[in-house]
Symmetry: C2
Subunit: 478 residues, 2 copies
Amino acid sequence: MAENNFVKEITNIDKNFAQWYTDIVRKAELADYTDTKGCIAIRPYGYAIWENIQNYTDKLFKKENIKNAYFPVLIPESLLQKEKDHVEGFAPEVAWVTEAGGDRLEERLCIRPTSETIITTMYSKWLSSWRDLPFEYNQWCNVLRWEKETRPFLRSREFLWQEGHAIYETEKEAKEKTLKMLDIYVDVAENLLAIPVVRGIKTQTEKFAGAEETYTIEAMMYDGKALQSGTSHYLGQNFTKAFDVKFQNREGKQENAYQISWGMSTRLIGALIMAHGDDRGLKLPPKVAPVQVVIVPIALHKEGVKEKAEELYGKLKDKIRVEIDLRDHVSPGYKFNDWEMRGVPLRIEIGPRDIENEVCVLVRRDTSEKITINLNEIESKVNELLDNIHKDMYETCKRRMESKTTIAHNMEEFQNNMNKEQGFIKAMWCGNSECEAKIKELTAAKSRCIPFIQEQVDDVCVCCGKKADKMVIWGRQY
Amino acid sequence: MAENNFVKEITNIDKNFAQWYTDIVRKAELADYTDTKGCIAIRPYGYAIWENIQNYTDKLFKKENIKNAYFPVLIPESLLQKEKDHVEGFAPEVAWVTEAGGDRLEERLCIRPTSETIITTMYSKWLSSWRDLPFEYNQWCNVLRWEKETRPFLRSREFLWQEGHAIYETEKEAKEKTLKMLDIYVDVAENLLAIPVVRGIKTQTEKFAGAEETYTIEAMMYDGKALQSGTSHYLGQNFTKAFDVKFQNREGKQENAYQISWGMSTRLIGALIMAHGDDRGLKLPPKVAPVQVVIVPIALHKEGVKEKAEELYGKLKDKIRVEIDLRDHVSPGYKFNDWEMRGVPLRIEIGPRDIENEVCVLVRRDTSEKITINLNEIESKVNELLDNIHKDMYETCKRRMESKTTIAHNMEEFQNNMNKEQGFIKAMWCGNSECEAKIKELTAAKSRCIPFIQEQVDDVCVCCGKKADKMVIWGRQY
């Protein structure tokens, strides 16, 4: 009974995807709304996912010799103003501190929406010679953007992220590193989160405020909408000129450094929910799951069951993230549903008859498949299954992305495809931002990116019919 | 030449300790001032120390089953107001957001100075039965307190810290955990930072705003002043009543939970500098040092030197945090001073003659001792020396703390001792806050704590002469 109620509280995924999402966030105790409007509390289960993302990504950064640092959360208004495109992009959505320590401040301080301005200012103080370069710093921190409409993880006024900021001696090195950072994001998305992504460059309209070029990885969610999952920007000398970041180059002349920045946030938790979840709740890929395996003893009160379950737990606990559910006031059925809802990739059931036969039952969260195995092969089987679950979850997402990606040769096709089923549309584009704006107006789909892997799906622009050599992926977005 | 200038730029430690401190912070590239007044940028070398503190402490928390989470940085004014003592203590030093997203806010939001109010509010939503308890959450985050006078790490308007917040079913459990958290801080201070501490309870005057009891660890710096290095608070039901955090207890009745909180911050980096440093610069204990060993080749241009140095590096790099200094535009002497200034615990020198003799020279940062060893014993010797350096640095601090701790039986003695040499003074206290205030007025020394280990150094209060049974440690402070 409890178990039925339980699942019923989650809205049907195909009936109302937005409500389903909110249900998962709250029922699986990933996050909750707070008294600070538009800001969430990330609960331990949600935060543990973020910690796994952090650990994985931070190791990749450190391997590239990127160093963590920390810069002030408050940025004086005068600094924010210095780069024209940047301030235009961010000023409308910042929060201002105007009073502190009992006094009205002479200059307003904004809470960082991103830290290019304050970090570039410090770089200007620290840099003198080409020998000092590169500076390649990253910070894990909170940022604030005053969004009008908010949704947990996807669009929260405050969110957690990492922002990397680096300056180089040459344009070439800076551009190479911009792409290297994008590669790291691909690694995180595909190898940790089991989410396939399209990589490409943003159009001029969609690039970061203050960048020369913005590179992106784009993932497709269950409903066919896109989620921008990580971006890497080549900033050129835009900020280093505005902030006077100069060095003496090898020829003894003063030169402005070449800059990049890259960021990825707790939005990825939203991506995990929406890329993998189903009607029974969250479905977490094993490498990022806070609990990879849960042991649920059957007939816990019967002699020897608890002991055997604990013995299994003891065998696994130093190798994987495993929990044992010894609650005595809820039924095994309740526990099954509970852990499925929380997305735990693998469940081990063990009861009196299993013990007699020296077996246990493994149940996959992703396929519901039940596998009976001998107790002595538990470690190897669990590892093998966790690997398979990752691969299969990735493949499932990939097949969905492929099946929901169509080609359009003209606007009628574009609109028909999008109305039939939300997804990605491949279409040629002439490079004119007016066509881009018109497509958005007619279909609510934006250019996701100009993918690195190009296909010549036509030779004219899907919108204006003029000659076009860029294939763009379009889609509605979160 | 370069080397001499180099050290000269650090102020003499005994001549001007405050200036010496600032020199170290900047020269060793731990942190720098920013355009946001009173806020610092923590540079990679300083941040790496903080990461080592975080990793060590976080493991101890996780062992106690404390879970990381994250709560909003902005707290509505109405929440801050709810606990009377708390708001009185913190409201004067908060920063207020009054405008955001282009609009004036209806209610001011403060940037968290600490998060009891917002976290307790969430606990009230999540708690229903004794079965849910305990909630034991921690967050690693930034906080802001609008100090009038600031100093890097010691008193910065924004600082990084961890704040733990837990609620329990019983007073007994809550009080036990308050002390358990203090034990963790002792572990961090002594076993990681090599700083001996006095542990005890704060007087009512010095306790946290809103707490029933505050426990503290107090360390002594080079100049004899105290640095409060971590505090753990028993909050009783003060906040759980103000925020209506109730649960159904085992008897089926509604009861307010019993609460604790505990915090430790980037101040500890200040403690490291001031407890261990000397005229040559920073002196880092090996376990927390970002670079534990540096290899400096002598006569780098001579055949085989670079290769041998790299071979040593290869042997050590997976076991300890080691750097190799291959710069070809500065002399070995410059490098020695540079790495000494940065506090690296152990230096390895290797030159052509050493290679001939199959030896290298190890130089301890703490004692300057030079030890010639065979190349084949490098790994074991390095480990042994790093262990010894930790122990010896701890003992050095301990001896200083002991030698600068005196006993006072009356105010004349108290003032004489403090005027002669700053340090800790043990003196009896009657428990009256007026005596405490008078002592502070006369000597600028505050009560550090009533230590757990009591000595009956007298039987009357050092101030009023009335009967007294509490021995208090007094000292001037950072």
